[in-house]
């Protein structure tokens, strides 16, 4: 069986190998450049004590390679469409399943060998691409501290392995159910994109209960490391969030998550402390201490940086479990179907 599979898929394997080699060459060359740029910038800013605003002034790598790295988001679904979907559907379409299913090898073994090797290949491809991207992004992650943010999280670590295995399993199952390649490709594309969007937009933030930190207005607060910030704002003495109008042309104070609180939203005594003219250092301090006396605090809701790998594990686990369920469905369908 393994030999048959190799014969059936050697062209695909050669093309995938060539594409991976090209990607690896590009990322290794530009990654080494970005790393040396990063190290020299670190040395320069340490000498002049300006490392604090490095993330605003330094740009690592090139836009084109950065865009290519973002495009690796599509690798799992392409694997599912081009390798997963035809795995069974093409056998049905070409009628070769009738031949394959009347040999001494049982259908179960036939399917186990085919699906097993393909899922392994998908996991390997997802893992190699993700490994390259993770290494390439190292200096940028250190600079921007955004590895946990949506979009970045999805192309690094072990999550892409889970996506690739799931996409391949979805393609195999779609082919087994629809028995035609093109509809199976369509279902793989739509199903994969829909599930990824749902998990990414709504579910991921709730994998673990987020942490909320409160801080006094007189000093700001930024979660340490590459934390994933979910919400930020201000609460009053009763612990209720203060609603902040979408925009304002008045003076603002504080800075939680980039948004200030308008002085017009403060209790009346603090508004009068601001006076009528433009804010000076003294009136600003008076407003801040007045607001603090009224129990107003800032808050940031976030997933701490230390949970990064737990989230990667949960995300990859969800997709691998879904893949296992799909493969179980495929086995049930294939073993019951008439040849």
């Amino acid at each position: 069986m393994t030999w048959i599979l190799w014969r059936q898929y050697r062209a695909q394997a050669a093309i995938a190998g060539a594409l991976l080699a090209a990607l690896a060459t590009l990322l290794v060359i530009t990654g080494v450049q970005a790393a040396s740029q990063w190290h020299s910038a670190l040395a320069a800013c340490a000498a002049s004590h300006t490392c604090g605003n490095l993330s605003n002034t330094l740009f690592l790598g090139s836009h084109t390679v950065g865009f290519l790295v973002i495009m690796t988001l599509g690798v799992p679904v392409v694997v599912g469409m081009l390798l997963g979907a035809p795995l069974l559907a093409h056998e049905f379409e070409a009628g070769t399943s009738q031949f394959a299913w009347t040999q001494s090898i049982t259908r179960r073994r036939w399917l186990a060998a085919k699906a097993g090797w393909l899922l392994l290949a998908a996991a390997a491809m997802g893992g190699v691409v993700s490994g390259l991207v993770t290494w390439w992004s190292g200096p940028n992650n250190a600079l921007q501290a955004n590895a946990f943010n949506p979009g970045r999280f999805d192309i690094m670590g072990i999550a892409p392995v889970g996506y690739a295995v799931f996409a391949a399993a979805l393609g195999i199952t779609a082919g087994a159910l629809l028995r035609r390649t093109l509809p199976a490709i369509g279902l793989t594309l739509a199903g994969f994109v829909a599930l990824r969007v749902v998990i990414f937009s709504w579910l991921r933030a709730h994998f673990m209960t987020p942490v909320t930190s409160y801080f006094p207005l007189s000093r700001g607060f930024t979660p340490a490391g590459s934390a994933w910030q979910l919400a930020a704002g201000y609460v009053g003495a009763n612990g209720q969030p203060i609603s902040i109008p979408q925009s304002t042309n008045g003076a603002v104070m504080g800075n939680a998550g980039g948004a200030g609180i308008p002085i017009s939203s403060l209790p009346a005594p603090c508004q009068s402390a601001a006076g009528n003219g433009p804010l000076t250092r003294a009136t600003y301090d008076a407003v801040v201490s007045c607001a603090q006396a009224h129990g107003i605090r800032g808050y940031v809701t976030y997933q701490p940086a230390g949970r990064y790998w737990a989230f990667q594990g949960i995300e990859a686990g969800i997709f691998v479990l879904l893949a296992a369920a799909l493969i179980a469905v495929t086995f049930a369908v294939i073993t019951r179907r008439d040849a």
Binding site: I15, Q37, S40, A41, A44, C45, S48, T50, L54, T57, L58, F59, L60, H63, T64, F67, L68, M71, V78, M81, L82, P86, H90, T181, L182, I185, G186, L189, A190, V193, V197, S201, P245, Q246, S247, T248, N249, G258
Partner: protein, 329 residues
């Protein structure tokens, strides 16, 4: 023939219509929300003069934004499902032998099939682009970024050109490779490659860019809605100074390449010293420059980009005709 094409593609047409309806529903709901948010904002922040006080305000919903980003791949999907199987599937399943031995000539067969499918792709691409363009209206008004790469690519008429090109690419790849699956792979690879090459390398040269030089002392003019390509400092001889992303830089130029007297002033934190630094650079003949494509070229660029992709599609179709007419049934 038209009836035959309809029978062959009615399932795809129905699936495409359902998906488009779903897309439209999400974009209309999210777009109306965003528009009312924008009107509420206009009431409060334009009074302060300009839109500047609204900048940075969040606008729109996550799901609308996700759909806007995903719409960039609609042309490739049309190429995969409408274009690639058009000839390849007939050759694979052997139905071309039947189709090509009827009274209808191969040229007419291909013209009707390809014609309807290209029209469908153009309509679909145009409908998605129209929804995204309307949805982006408030954001374009607030940030004026519709000329920037990525935003430019999903609005206006260019998505129609992309859709026609991707479909023609699928038809040509299927005709040359004679198998659907490799044709689909070629559509994905070539479409992304051509799009990236044109948007990253070619697009900025459609019309020579405008360079404006400004004194350090003048208040910076706004380049709203334009497409900024580069900016920096020119030296006393009028030549741009080499740039580097090192930490000790000023407007992208390393401090070391500026006159020493001015360096001392620029390096200081106080407002007065910075103004003095600007004066010092101005007196030494240094100027700020911006290279950009002005905002009023937006539709010219949309037209050129669409034209490029439609022309590429025409070339691919010419190849398809030549191959189909010469091939043995």
């Amino acid at each position: 023939m038209t009836w035959l094409v309809w029978r062959q593609y009615r399932l795809q047409a129905a699936a495409a219509a359902v998906l488009l309806a779903g897309f439209a529903a999400v974009m209309v709901v999210s777009g109306l929300q965003m528009a009312s948010q924008w009107h509420a904002m206009l009431g409060t922040c334009t009074t302060g003069g300009g839109h500047s006080s609204c900048e940075g305000a969040p606008l729109g919903s996550t799901i609308g934004h996700d759909f806007e980003v995903l719409s960039v791949m609609v042309p490739a999907v049309l190429g995969i499902f409408f274009g690639a199987p058009l000839v390849a599937h007939e050759l694979e399943s052997g139905t071309s032998q039947y189709a090509w031995t009827q009274t209808i000539t191969r040229t007419r067969w291909l013209t009707v099939k390809a014609g309807w499918l290209l029209l469908a792709a153009a309509v679909w691409g145009g409908a998605v682009a129209a929804l995204v363009t309307w949805w982006s209206g408030p954001r374009n008004a607030l940030y004026g970024n519709q000329f920037q790469p990525n935003y430019f690519d999903v609005q206006g008429i260019v998505p129609v050109g992309y859709a026609v090109f991707a479909t023609a690419l699928g038809i040509a790849a299927g005709t040359l490779l004679r198998r659907t699956l490799p044709a689909i792979a070629v559509v994905i690879g070539v479409f992304i490659g051509v799009r990236l090459f044109i948007s990253d390398v070619v697009r900025q040269h459609y019309i020579p860019a405008v360079t404006s030089h400004m004194s350090f002392l003048s208040t910076p003019g706004t380049l709203a809605r334009s497409w900024d390509l580069a900016s920096g400092i020119t030296g006393p001889n009028g030549q741009p100074l080499p740039q580097s992303s090192s930490v000790n830089s000023f407007n992208g130029v390393p401090l070391a390449s500026l006159p020493h007297a001015c360096q001392v002033l620029i390096g200081q934190a106080s407002r007065q010293a910075m103004v003095a630094g600007d004066r010092c650079l101005d007196a030494a003949g240094y100027r700020v420059y911006d290279v950009y494509q002005p905002a009023n070229r937006y539709w010219a660029f949309q037209g050129i980009e669409t034209g490029v992709f439609v022309a590429l599609a025409a070339v691919l179709l010419a190849i398809t005709y030549a191959v189909v007419r010469r091939r043995d049934a």
